[in-house]
């Protein structure tokens, strides 16, 4: 998988690059709009991460030209502009996703994975991690031999963690994907924390290896062994 990062802020580009490398994606950084446009035209990429405010040529211009030339590489826009109009404009011009700065790195990675997954069937009926098993059809959750009694919200939360197992999940992601709130607010953050504590009590009862881990300042991860 090859990713083109069109971003003029050097530090940010490096961070994204190393995050991609950690997940074994190959990446190329284009520091200007011109360079980005040239590379996107000339080389083949599986994904383009595009900043909107670029020197030389604006991200939206690049996106528009690419789409006019029928280059259908998925594009993820990364920008500090968070107006609804900006989002709509970007998506209308053919972007596949949109992320507002400052963003959480786990969220960027989750979105990239989602873009790569797109179009592939994902009709999984059963999610597993170590001896934890979640059945999406019967909505039964087993930890070893014991059946866990989860509320509806706990079930959705665990399902989300299992679908992203091994990857960090931020509170923003949970707010949007599990609680379906478009905005993260303080009350909801507290709700997420309490809900997570309760889920963890049920899943990681005494005496079994812990699966759900809190990563301070970032979010949560479901993973065997140490986070």
């Amino acid at each position: 998988m090859r990713v083109l990062i069109v971003e003029d802020e050097r530090k940010l580009a490096q961070i994204v690059e190393s995050a991609l490398q950690a997940e074994h994606y190959e990446s190329v950084v284009a520091p200007t709009g011109e360079d980005g446009f040239f590379r996107a035209n000339a080389e083949a990429f599986d994904l383009i991460i595009l900043d909107l405010m670029l020197p030389g040529r604006s991200g939206l211009e690049i996106l528009q030209t690419l789409r006019q030339r029928h280059i259908e590489t998925p594009v993820l826009i990364l920008t500090a502009r968070d107006g609804v109009d900006d989002r709509v404009l970007g998506l209308d011009l053919g972007a596949d996703d949109y992320l507002v700065k400052p963003f959480a790195l786990p969220e960027l990675m989750a979105r990239i994975r989602a873009l790569f997954r797109r179009g592939r069937p994902s009709d999984v009926l059963r999610l597993k991690a170590a001896d934890l098993e979640l059945d999406l059809v019967t909505r039964r959750v087993m930890r070893g031999d014991a059946q866990l009694d989860l509320t509806g919200r706990e079930f959705e939360l665990l399902e989300y963690l299992l679908r992203h197992q091994g990857h960090l999940v931020s509170r923003e992601m949970l707010a949007r994907e599990v609680w379906r709130e478009p905005r993260r607010a303080t009350p909801l953050d507290n709700v997420i924390d309490v809900q997570m504590t309760r889920l963890r009590k049920k899943v990681d009862a005494d005496g079994v290896p812990r699966l759900i881990h809190t990563v301070r300042g970032v979010g949560f991860v479901l993973r065997e062994g140490e986070p």
């Binding site: 968070d82 609680w179 905005r183 607010a185 009350p187 709700v191 301070r216 300042g217």
Partner: protein, 480 residues
Amino acid sequence: MSWWSTASIRVRLTGWYGVVLFLMMAIYATATFVAVRHEFLEQLDDQLHDDFEAAEGHLIAGADGRIVWSGERHHDPDSDEERGSDVWSVSGEPIYRSTASASLPPAAIAAATAGGRYESLVINRSRWRTLTGTSSVGGRAVVLRASRSEDRVRAQLWEILVVLVLGLPLVVALASLGGYTLARRALTPIDHLASEARRITADRLHERLSVPNPEDEIGRLATVINDTYARLESSFDQLRRFTADASHELRTPLSVIRGLGEMQLNRTRTPDEYKEAIGSMLEEVDRLTSLVDTLLRLSHGDAGTIRLSREALDVGQLVRDVASSLGILAEERQQTLKVDVREDVFVTTDRLVLREAFANVIDNAIKYSPKGSTIVASVRADGERAVVDIVDEGPGIAAEHRRRIFDRFFRLDEGRSRDRGGTGLGLAIAKWAVDVSGGQITVEGRPSGGSVFRIVLPAAAPAIRNPHRDREPQLKGEHV
């Protein structure tokens, strides 16, 4: 016209005053003149009538059947110049002609009647008034004419006219001068007010205009301006406080991040220590991010650039949603969170914005109520309004803080609320959300302790309300 519209109020006032006064005086003078003239001419006719009767007395029928003028000569030569009497027989022969009226043409004998007829004549550019009538002396009919010169009356009338026409502009000019002086005196306090107001700038907003008499017009104006200054001052204060609070809130996480980074780099540490420090830094970044997001949203709201969707929302349902979402927080604190929907009521506004208002107020109630207490959110319709009361059993809010509780960054207890993860913006966001929905949010104390946060919203058309709901009381009720 441009000169007129830029002239000072006192000049324009005087101008209008002069014009109106001139018109009124002109009408008055004309009416006076017309009345006087009518009166003078009437008098003249009366005198003629007297002359006529006197002349009748002077005629005597002689023994020979002739009629003779027996009148004595008047001793007043002036008067004789101006009046005269003439007598003719019915056949037109003159019987008597006075000297004064000698120049007048003979009367029209055939037209003379018993009642007498007044006539005006102009002879040699002098005007005469005559009364011609028939009379009988000793059984013989005669035609008698009394005449008087109009010249004296005309001269008197002319004098009156001259006085009126010349006096009018003089009176108007004098009155305008007086009007100008009065206008200037009346308007001087306004000039004074203006120079005082100019003195009060943004740095001296605590100063006020002096109000010598609050009951008069100028006093009322000054009072209104002072009220405006008071509001301006409080907005400025609020802004100043906000700026100070915002920079404090933004700088605190920044200094923590900076301090942590600097401290970690001053010597080599174990991976666990680094992890701990980085996690701590990220937490501060998180706080900063959500603070900046909230502030941006509030400022978008202030600037009116936020776009809201409008849909009919079931307030009871929305409160139930929020309560079920936040219920877990109340559970953690062994609190009971009840929802009591007494009537179904709908409002038209943005769902997310209204949810945010309810969420922040309920979250606030949960946060500051003691463990094991009860929080009740009730929804009812009150005429054209939807009323949501959120009642808690917390410590309550002192009356002097109630006005500021919705201010940005206002905290009743600095340390405590920060520990509980508050940004100090929750209620400010709630107020903003209620405001943009066209409603009001207030807080009141309860006699038994605790607070009532009341959100009042304009209800949507009653037609959308569900009419069947009242017949199904089992659907109402409590959500725990």
